[in-house]
Symmetry: C3
Subunit: 142 residues, 3 copies
């Protein structure tokens, strides 16, 4: 069964949620990004990594990751495509999304790598969407 | 007239349809992909190719195409952008969509080519969307 | 506050508006593109450029820009991602969108550059969306 019964307004809501969430990440607003997760949400940026659990841990993880770019004026942008939702028995949404990371340095051309798949569990409550868990897999590792 | 009168819920429905359809294709679930077409749907992956008509023929076409990757561990992902819909007199939707093919091999960087335009006719009936016909044109051939 | 209260139907409407708007631009239908702006709309394709104000000036700007490609058979496609909307006090929408320019020449592979951010103010009135102003910033200049 390919056609998901997820409501179309929820679909648009999730798209918009991702737009704000990822612009927060790419803008270095890590507390805003972490706030898009459930309070006990988990974030695992690659299958081998230890998941960061809770908003504070997510911020810490991002600060640590971005330390390597401290003297490297880089702009990263995470592009998403083909957000496929499946409703879970508990009412949460399993969300499977293509992702490409665009990296730009001053005067340079964008590097577009890696190609990833984002595996989220999302919780929608009224107007609010939160990520309960995020695991990112990488296409070049297979 | 640039603004299409297509209903916004139908627009979200079509986006979601494409997400599941193309994840089925890229995941090698060819029967699932073929099932997103009308029973007598046609699929023409380039203007010079003979269209495959009917779900069985579409599966056969995809199996034949992917045979060339049999010993080549490659992950392909079809990205879509700017889904522009126009309602046809018979109630079907003409859908014109940008597409880029992302190809990744183990340890490699994604190659992003070719750039295409997908020309679909879609049939929406209640919760169900099906592709009645698909013709893919390629930007580097012009 | 990350979650925008913009209505989900308006969100889908804006996505669809952008699809038609940018396919008009990439298709060389400059009058159609200009018609997606308010009558006194302004279009600034980079921070250093003088904005073109009004539909006639926007068409003139595009004709002048594309003159450089007159003997260069090039197909450009503007991809958008992560449309983030914020409602303004006057009811207009601030729209912040990632953009990548895909450029293809006959027989070639797509070049994907530059990476930009589109900063729009949009006016939604019933079924109609118009761009009141557009400023495009470029990621490699920072």
């Amino acid at each position: 069964m390919l056609l998901s019964a997820v409501r179309t307004d929820v679909y648009a809501q999730v798209q918009h949620f991702y737009a704000h969430q990822m612009q927060a990440l790419d803008g270095g607003r890590f507390a805003d990004y972490a706030a898009t997760f459930c309070e006990d949400g988990s974030f695992q940026h690659s299958p081998g990594a230890e998941p960061a659990v809770g908003r504070e841990a997510i911020v810490d993880e991002l600060v640590a990751f971005h330390r390597r770019f401290e003297n490297d004026p880089v702009q990263r942008r995470h592009w998403f495509n083909h957000i496929a939702l499946e409703e879970q028995p508990d009412g949460s949404l399993q969300s499977t999304v293509y992702a490409l990371v665009v990296t730009v340095r001053p005067g340079g051309k964008p590097e577009i790598a890696p190609s990833c798949v984002v595996h989220d569990v999302l919780v929608v409550e009224g107007d609010a969407v939160h990520t309960r868990s995020r695991l990112v897999t990488h296409d070049q590792m297979f």
